[in-house]
């Protein structure tokens, strides 16, 4: 049975910790002079991106290479969909090259789930699907938080985490919400009604541990972690916000607001940032920001995911080792 990582929803607490513990070891590997281990020698990883992405693609690519796997990057713009090849055809073509892991980014929610149903010997890693999930980003955020709170003699549990901004369109938010709920944390969704529908609270996640705040100040109060989400210009055209100025006046995460309402909080952002729109420069570059560590941890987390999944591909009986 081939394992996939399609989302954080449904992962148990121990599975989440397994990814984090494993990633922790790979942080050490990434700090060595020789940043490469032979673990996945002879394995093939195909990174197939149906949506442009620089940081996630390069992060997966480096992760695979540091594990000695052969990595191939296939970027397929949405234009090829117009050319006529279906997702299934593309995926089957790639599978006939016998990759062990298929890392997939797609603009449509559920695309990796669909692909995984037609793959029998390839592990699928969801590198972001539409507005659904982005599990490796959630894991790297958790790893970053874990490292930070370890210095405060705290763990990942019992935290108050607030997501500020365009939760409606954010796959990072969905994956992270599931993770924090599994860890037993309090989750707040902060933003205007159009982007943070009240249904999101209980209806979507089935728990009272998620609460919606339309008021930034009230939402920030007492938070340990602030997750600032990317605000895209298109939202203005789609009538989700009147304009970006209006949005940022009400919802920009600034040092002034944090100092007043969540003085002990730290801030993360999945990137790329729109400075001055959803996050102010003084926060992004200030002492609360863990944004740089997030990028470093991205490689370690993806190494952990590739390592744990590639193991399951072509698994045979246990042989002696001593």
């Amino acid at each position: 049975m081939v394992d996939h990582l399609l989302g954080i929803q449904g992962l148990s607490k121990s599975e989440i910790y397994r990814y984090l513990d494993t990633a922790h070891s790979f942080v050490e590997v990434s700090e060595r002079d020789i940043k490469k281990v032979p673990t996945l020698r002879g394995k093939t990883i195909v990174n197939v991106f149906f949506e442009p992405s620089t940081r996630t693609l390069s992060s997966f690519d480096i992760a695979g290479k540091r594990l000695s796997a052969d990595t191939i990057n296939v970027s397929i713009g949405s234009s090829s969909v117009k050319k006529g090849e279906t997702l299934l055809d593309t995926v089957r073509t790639l599978e006939s090259m016998n990759p062990d892991v298929l890392v997939m980014r797609h603009s449509e929610s559920g695309a990796p789930h669909f692909a995984s149903r037609y793959l029998s010997r390839t592990s699928v890693v969801n590198a972001g699907d539409g507005a659904h999930e982005h599990p490796t980003q959630a894991l790297l955020d958790l790893l970053t938080l874990r490292q930070h709170f370890a210095t405060k003699k705290r763990g990942l549990e019992g935290l108050r985490v607030g997501f500020v901004g365009d939760v409606r369109h954010s796959r990072v938010a969905r994956s992270s919400i599931w993770a924090h709920l599994t860890l037993g944390n309090e989750v707040r969704l902060i933003g205007p009604n159009t982007l943070v529908p009240t249904d999101f609270a209980k209806g979507a996640f089935g728990t009272d541990s998620v609460r919606v705040y339309n008021d930034l100040a009230k939402g920030l109060e007492g938070l340990d972690v602030v997750v600032s989400l990317r605000m895209q210009l298109e939202r203005q055209e789609e009538h989700y916000v009147p304009n970006l100025d209006e949005y940022s006046k009400e919802y920009c995460v600034s040092e002034r607001m944090l100092a007043k309402y969540a003085p002990d909080s730290i801030v993360i952002h999945p990137g790329p940032m729109n400075r001055g729109t959803e996050i102010s420069g003084d926060v992004a570059d200030g002492p609360r920001s863990l944004i740089r560590q997030q990028v470093t941890n991205g490689v370690a987390v993806r190494m952990a995911v590739l390592y744990l999944l590639a193991r399951t591909v072509g698994a045979t009986e246990e042989v002696g080792h001593g």
Binding site: T86, E108, S109, G110, F114, G130, H132, D199, G203
Partner: protein, 442 residues
Amino acid sequence: MAKARPVVIHGGTLIDAASDRDGEFDLLIEDGKVKAIEKPGVLKEHAEAEHIDAKKQWVMPGCIDLHVHLREPGEEWKETVQTGAEAAALGGFTSICCMPNTKPANDSAEVTRFILEKAKAAGASRVLPIGAISMERKGKQLAPYSELAKAGCVAFSDDGDPVADAGLMRRALEWCLMLGLPLSCHEEDRNLSCGGCMNESPRSLRLGLKGFPGVAEDVMIARDIELARFTKGKVHICHVSTARGVELIRRAKNDGINITCEVAPHHLLLDDSCCETYDTAFKMMPPLKDNEDIAGLIAGLKDGTVDAIASDHAPHDRDSKLVEFSRATVGILGLQTSLPLLIEMSAEGVLSRRRMVELLCSGPAKSFDLPYGRLSVGSDADVIVVDPNRTWRFAEEDIRSKSKNSPFVGRDLKGLAVHTFVGGRHVVVNGRLASEMALNTK
């Protein structure tokens, strides 16, 4: 052509909502008409007739489906008039109304006549074409309603697309009022549905699929109710899927507005949790709803607000479903599953038997003012014999349609049309097409 032998169906339970019959009656079919309906034993002397023993079975008027897509002309790999009409006969439907979203659209007498010729050649169920409301269904220019009506169209619709232009809708209603024909309306405000591919709900938010809010349907129903009130034209609302929609129609009926509506079986039996695995078999238009809406639809079925069950039979080839959820085609087959699914609902006590027959026969007939859907002496012999206790597993091989897109494949169904008479022609014999049996015996 030799005169067909008369047929006596005896021993069955005759259920006909139009004549308010539900009991043991024998029925005589002769010269394409229902010649007699009598108490058991009376019709025995017809020794020359073919006798069908319908013991423990139901004898019903043939069902009428107001909403099917036959794909011909233009997409014959999905369905043809022939395969659609045959699927209908096997499913117990003796009349089906086919939507004009073919290629080209049915906006001229040529296309209407083409469909009718194909239907005649098929020799299965009656095919009653629906003409387009606007030329090429583009919502810009009225279609030639009188020409289409003379060629044989029984209603008009731009189904698949809403009529966005209220002004055009008003004039269409005014024209069709003169012809006495209804406009069958696909209700959707595209600025609200906005490319949504599943019911907008906490679930769609969680799955990250673009939501189609129920209100996109409701506001258009409300608009067309007001236009019907204003023009006195006849409006029929297609595939109502929301509780609010039913409530709006209920009030309109109370106000005396000339309005009818239909509900599709899948909107009653499946809910939006089916989308949980991104399975495109469950992608519909309008999308599957939650339990609250389903309860509203069922209330409408019970109290008579809903006039008809219509399958929205929408054949699609496998490839068009084997894609990302948001890019998949919408709809499912319905002709061969509607009757069994309704029988199941009636067996479970959701609907009375009489009401079920009404929703499948006289209700749709009344909605489009068709002379079918009833069993009375002198009426066209559109008759079916149904074995309500037959339990069978619906398999892909059972599907007569060219396409196989039914989420009910593999499900156990209850009830099967074992005989179908269309205008007295014995089209389905013992659950099989007569045309095929003739071929096999050669």
